[in-house]
Amino acid sequence: MANTTVSHRVILHFPSRVVNQPVISNFIKNYDLSFNIMKASIIPDQEGYVMLELSGDQDKYNAGISYLHDAGVRIEPFSQNVQRSDERCVQCGACVGFCPTEAFHLDGVARAVVFNNNLCVACGLCLTACPARAMQLRF
């Protein structure tokens, strides 16, 4: 049976009681997933988070996520963290040239600004670059 490879961008939230445990170390050793950390904040005895892109075999990914879950880590997909208020957005396009991962583009015909949150790495640059302040970061 051919293995399916998956790649997901997730945010791992570590409650303060988990921060002091070697969760990441176990995760790396036991599940053979490659990952790319984009942003992290882990301080002893405080709540912490790691934003990363995980890729590898589907079964191992599922097992790894399940391990993290059992260890008390809350897992969230990236794309839910940066949101656009469609009411605030005026469809100007100031974000289009600015987003480092090209998560925004202008639709060719209607020239509407499209936000593809699958490409978003939650860097937060658009939050203050957006003149209408339509972008919100939520954790």
Partner: protein, 399 residues
Amino acid sequence: MPKTIAEINERIKRGQAVVATADEIIDLAREKGIARTAAEVDVVTTGTFGPMCSSGAYINTGHSQSRIKMGGGQAFLNDVPAYTGFAAVDLFIGANALPDADPRNRVHPGEFNYGGGHVIEELVAGKDVRLVAHAYGTDCYPRRELDTLVSINDLNEAVLFNIRNAYQNYNVAVNASSKTIYTYMGILKPNLGNATYCSAGQLSPLLNDPFYNTVGIGTRIFLGGGTGYVTWQGTQFNPDVPRTANGVPRRGAGTIAVIGDLKQMSSRYLRGISMLGYGVTMAVGIGLPIPILSEEILAYTLVTDADILAPVVDYAGAYPNRSSEVLAEVSYAELKSGQIKVRGATIPAASLSSYQRAVEIAQTLKKWIERSEFFLTERVAPLPGVESGMSLKPLTERR
């Protein structure tokens, strides 16, 4: 052919007026030819929606019991200072005004999350706004302090009065320095890392009437979701700029001053805007109807993005130093493709004005005219033309 505005209004009244947006008219004329299109079409509608800094509103709050004379004192709307140099309860709030407590650029780049433009947006949306005033007290206006909520419905008058809007063409901003800069044209990355522009191009009001043949004082327009009027040429009005063979200005040129009842406008088309490291302003929606009185007037409305050239200006050097240096000229067709070429480099280009909402405004104005809800006005006086000799003066400092 030729038609008069009275004849067009008669057709609007009967529900028979033929209206096209400045986008639609291009294909229509290509298909039917200029003579037939000019005979058939009565009005071309334009639209623009972008940050327009010289915007503001005056309000009359009504008199408190006992009376207060805010004139000569201080007044704040949601902590944003309003101008009090008028009579007792007349205030003017400018789009760029900032709360005294805003840190501005003390930590650069400042965020400028709230200011006069946002106050106007909230008033238009019908929200309560806190009015605080300090006065010196007189025998006839004894009150010295005021702190109350007001909404637009409480006010006697709430009038949008913008002294410079709808710039006819505008700079394309880039940054030739080695550091990121924060400007009214947005964030500009170093070494020509990106470009920003701010015009609706072929849909923009004054680019469709480049010599001000129809627009003038008294022209009724779409303003902020309601109706308004052109009151005067806008400040910095400058018809004396280089133009292309078909008359289109290649630099910022004409502008209009506009007025309208804020009470019938909508926060969809009046929006507080924050420019990182620069300040606050307000995005304003304007739609100008152009009566097709002759083939010549129609021909000007056929301008396309490819015909309109804008100057690329370095906002790290030439602009702050008031140098007239232009790095290149690019067309709106290139700008809207998302990339421009400047000195051999390909630069991503982004817009600060919303084309999508400009289209929406031109379409809305078209619908109003087709439904006999909006009639054209005869202008009372024209705007100064190229022949006026009017030009833009710099400030020469002297002692």
